[in-house]
Symmetry: C2
């Protein structure tokens, strides 16, 4: 089994892929579009990609890919804690660090730590958290990097501080993408997307009414721009039902009828909610 | 009148601020939190910040700030086209460019151009589009930058190609933030946010029902994580009504009653929709 993930080695995506299938062969790709392309082209059997963070919301690249593709389905979900570590070359003192590399999102998530403890250092953007460790190692000045624990092991860096993110409840939900979804287990989720024709306000309300009539719990609603113009959206809904359940079949049929465009992203076993940290 | 914006000079935010008030004194800040802080501290009278892009969706930093603050209101909106330009030091040939700097989002928005025309060049992340031009100028190797037209004038760069973004209909909607919102004009928008208590599914459906009963058109719905845990959201709605209109007063009262937390971001004159480009 080959699993694609957003590399380089040492990213949170790699951590999630290992948690999903510790025994699989992991294949790194340079971008989320490249990861999902690899599944479409069958270079890998599946991929594990981030879809939602508990603090920062949707990973919109992945949502937009799911809207565009026809051949890839959500086959599973899992969540991992995002514990940012400050790391540097072995023996580096905190006070000597002059620049800190990380992905702009991780820099933002560690704002309080950077302001209180590293206010003397300059933040520099890297293309990924793992790339930040490479950038740190290649830096001419004394540098640090914000990255996952795993990246320190892989690149031979020393961890100076752990879990430096502003909010301890920083989790990312990942989805497993495959060429088909999964059969019913009795505790399933179905992800769908739909758009309405231009001039019919109130249709979203009617669509949610279909779920209420069928006693289906909606777990999540997102809106994404269609790209046609400002103010036109695709709606993405996660609902607690399997699309092969009779009530799922009926609900999807009704939603499809009222939409100008409709798509099932897949039905898959629902994960347990991650613990809340004090 | 002093207007704060996300600098450095040469960003799309600066373009939007000039379009809103060409005669104002513009003050650049290094991050979106710093811009809105400046309004809270009355260092500037207002600020102009991006809130939504027609291709990439919500600018979540700004939404999350509006959820957190109590003193700042949306007082207006405007949209400008996002036309990315490839620029370099005067006299640089396209074929000689070895690295291209830009904000990761602009690199993503210009993917097709980069793959077809600059496949020989390496993409490097900068902290903003305007910073990309500075990085380009300071680069040891022959470099290009993807940035707004205005940045070329300011930093003395030469434009090699214009409007290189994948989709011509790339618009960003900006909002004006101030210490109060605006009186009714007859064509207004109201932005609100609300959360429900933990265990009541179906409340979002009932909330949208309140809008339907009062014949109020919902223009936009977003969900943002509350930060407590995965799966808990704040809903943000833009609706075509003024909060001082009788029907607005009534709707807001009902929404407030059914929410565990409720907030009005402001009522403001609605902008005209930008044109669609072929």
């Amino acid at each position: 089994m080959k699993i694609g993930y957003l590399g380089p080695s040492g990213t949170y995506s790699e951590e999630a892929a290992y948690q999903y299938r510790p025994d699989a062969e992991m294949v790194a790709y340079p971008s989320i579009p490249a990861v999902v392309d690899a599944v479409e082209k069958r270079e890998v059997d599946r991929c594990v990609v981030p879809i939602e963070n508990s603090l920062y919301g949707a990973i919109t690249d992945v949502l937009d890919f799911l809207v565009r593709t026809d051949d890839i389905f959500i086959a599973g979900e899992l969540a991992i804690p995002i514990d940012h570590c400050l790391m540097a070359r072995p023996g580096t003192a905190l006070a000597d660090i002059k620049v800190v590399y990380s992905h702009p999102q991780s820099l933002g998530q560690s704002r309080r730590y950077l302001e209180s403890t590293l206010s003397h250092a300059q933040a520099i953007a890297s293309l990924s958290n793992a790339q930040a460790v490479i950038d740190m190692r290649e830096s001419d000045t004394t540098a640090g990097a914000i990255a996952p624990r795993r990246a320190a092991e892989i690149y031979g860096a020393e961890i100076i501080a752990e879990a430096i993110q502003d909010n301890p409840n920083n989790y990312t939900r990942f989805v497993v993408l495959d060429d088909s979804d999964r059969p019913p287990t009795g505790r399933d989720m179905t992800s769908v997307a739909f758009r309405f024709s231009e001039d019919e306000p109130g249709l979203l309300y009617r669509a949610l009414g279909v779920l209420r009539e069928n006693s289906i719990n909606m777990v999540k609603i997102e809106s994404r721009p269609t790209g046609e113009r400002l103010g036109r959206y695709t709606f993405l809904i996660d609902m607690e039902v399997h699309r092969a359940d009779p009530v799922g079949v009926q609900t999807i049929e009704k939603l499809r009828e009222m939409s100008s465009w409709f798509k099932v992203f897949g039905s898959y076993p629902r994960m347990a909610a991650p613990p809340i940290r004090a």
